[in-house]
Subunit: 417 residues, 2 copies
């Protein structure tokens, strides 16, 4: 089943916004057994949209479109689709009711501009938008040869598009087209770089059956290993992929922290909840980022007590009671300081576990002895406190991210002891 | 001068790698007065490359291609270009010398695979690659009507492509084509949704000169308004765009927080630095995210003292000294609590300004009286403290993001008083 993706938006073509929609859509489609043939990015121009639709129709059975269906003047996708499918806009009661509810929940009146979003092409099936006011539009067109081409128009706003893809578009495409059975499993690793990982698992990788493909998906601080199997027999395929993973696990056990879509902050949350334990953080170089990751998980107030972000020595002394002597003798970025931060936070928050961080995130602040990227992480766990030193890179963003992931990974191991 | 960009690579089409090349190329081209008409992403397939070249040739004067010119088997762009331009590969002495030097500098021998990179199409002008071994290729082809189309093939590796674009491709394109002058300016707004903004500025938008285009670029918590002007006279155009913005400002002054690529956390940092003032935060529902945004800015330790994240009533009492009576009477999500948090943090951090937040981020925890999304934000500024209530939506991630942006926007206004 060949798919083409058309992304519409002037902001993409002048390079102001990077087109992340196409890659995300393609990944989801691949996971569901569809093959993406082409991405096309065009501007909010009637002629260009029409031309792209005509071209895509010749090559693909499925054409997915995002962008240009907002309420403003520059959004002309909807009227252009009417021209292409030889139909016209009609007022859609259901869509209008959804728009009214959307604004009522937010305490707003519906403007004329928003009301127009309920004007939708007559010859299409509309898809609800749980997170916005622009409905999706599903068109079908007979091919000149045989069969049909499906066209789906979605919002360009990434979170609205994603919700619609997952809940509406992909399930409907799977009903409309038959696809081979595909089974994915992703192994999540932390603390080892892509090339070292590749060397370590080379023999295992070479022994994989032909119908199982391996992809390395590196991100700052972690590498995901995705296995994708294709076959006609679901049971057999699942067994095959699971066996391959069972063989992989002992080779890199110290780096694996989870599977599939899990995040370290979710895993930490689950473990703390199971044990009935609580957590707090004392952060310097991570500046609240670890607390942010932990509190991004719904329900985290059940186990997370809070954080003290101590961004200066003064605050490390006054709020975390690190002794001035230790700061003077060993510096803020030291085993001694980070362990004192952890122990003090444990008392203040009355928490079972503490993560403490202190490092030089950069770009400035490095010395020969402690270059940018030097980072200490401490974990306090009941009666015990321990710290480890790391030397990350020279990018501030990535140092913050890597410190946070490394700290969560250390806590996870402690929680599993 | 119309440009099309073709990016070649299987890794793009399965969503494994996000196509950042096209956006970067487009931005550079725009700044140099070229208009990009379309991006096309295709796989490493001979037929698809030929089809994309034939199509692009009909529409554009300039076709820029990246990807598929590495030394490995799946890189077939070079031989496909030979087919398209009816030429063949010949061994290029200059290119081979560059490859030898490249490897000698890195202490490596030239392999057979690398030697083949010196085989280049006979009918093209080659462009040096300072950072890699794959040369760029510049082809010209007569158009059936009049004039010529320029095709340039570049590496897909982003840093190699960027070096070649800046030093070779753009200077040569500017010599070959005369370009109009283009001027962009982006107005950043916060605290008003896209459709309300559109209604409010409708009359202004309708009065814009024809050579100035307006685009709405919404993100969670903010909307960017981008004006793009095109003209032959640089001075006149800049004046025209700046005048349009001067007319816009009084209409939405309370929502504008900056221009172009600035962020609220950068602006806050600049203002605090200029005034020699310090900042700390006392966060509940934002869980450290505001501290994280502020500390993502290099040098923020000069003005940011830290944060207390108080994720439970117990911590609000023990570390932020909110009185149990206030928590019992008004609840954690109340004007009284958030103001007490702010005032207490001001003393503890000895900071000039404090941001305090308390809200129901969701998805659970809402009541009829205080539904999910209910949020109080307080600012303490020297002798003064004030708070405002907001009702955001039902998405946890976006509530955290919107609360943070709203809090930073409130602080910015206070700093400008």
């Amino acid at each position: 089943m060949l798919v083409e993706i058309i992304n519409i938006g002037d902001e993409l073509l002048i390079g102001q916004v990077i087109n992340t929609n196409a890659a995300w859509m393609a990944e989801q489609l691949n996971l569901s057994g569809f093959t993406v043939l082409r991405f096309t990015v065009i501007s909010d121009s009637r002629e260009q949209i029409l031309e792209a639709l005509h071209e895509a129709e010749k090559r693909a059975e499925i054409v997915l479109i995002s962008g240009g269906i907002g309420p403003t003047k520059d959004d002309i996708t909807k009227t252009t689709l009417c021209a292409f499918f030889n139909t016209h806009l009609v007022f859609n009661e259901d869509a209008y009711r959804d728009i009214q509810i959307f604004f009522a929940l937010r305490g707003h009146q519906v403007t004329d501009l928003n009301r127009k979003q309920a004007d939708l092409p007559e010859r299409c099936f509309t898809l609800p938008n749980k997170l916005g006011t622009a409905r999706g539009m599903w068109f079908e067109k007979k091919r000149t040869t045989e069969g049909k081409t499906v066209f789906v128009s979605m919002p360009g706003v990434p979170f609205e598009m994603k919700e619609m893809m997952i809940n509406e578009v992909i399930p409907r495409l799977q009903k409309s087209f038959s696809t081979p059975y595909i089974y994915h499993k992703t192994v999540l690793t932390q603390g080892i770089g892509e090339s070292f990982l590749a060397t370590r698992i080379e023999a295992w990788e070479n022994s994989l059956p032909k119908n199982i493909k391996l992809a390395y998906l590196p991100q700052p601080g972690m590498v995901r290993l995705r296995l994708t199997g294709t076959a006609d027999d679901e049971q057999k395929l699942r067994h095959q992929v699971d066996s391959a993973i069972a063989e992989l696990e002992p080779i890199i056990s110290e780096y694996i922290f989870g599977y599939d879509e899990e995040t370290l902050e979710e895993i930490i949350g689950r473990l703390l909840r199971e044990k009935g334990n609580s957590l707090a953080t004392a952060e310097s170089c991570t500046g609240g980022y670890i607390a942010h990751l932990i509190t991004s998980i719904p329900g985290s107030s059940d186990y997370f007590k809070g954080s003290i972000v101590a961004y200066s020595n003064e605050i490390k002394e006054n709020l975390l009671f690190v002794s001035p002597e230790i700061l003077a003798k060993f510096g803020a970025v030291s085993e001694e300081t980070v362990e004192e931060m952890a122990v003090s936070a444990q008392t203040q928050f009355n928490a079972d576990y503490i993560i403490a961080t202190s490092g030089i995130a950069g770009p400035s602040g490095g010395t020969t002895e402690k270059p940018v990227g030097t980072t200490w992480i401490a974990i306090a766990a009941q009666e015990e406190v321990f710290a480890r030193k790391f030397l990350f890179g020279d990018s501030r963003d990535r140092n913050i991210r890597r410190t946070a992931l490394q700290a969560l990974a250390m806590l996870r191991k402690k929680l599993l002891e």
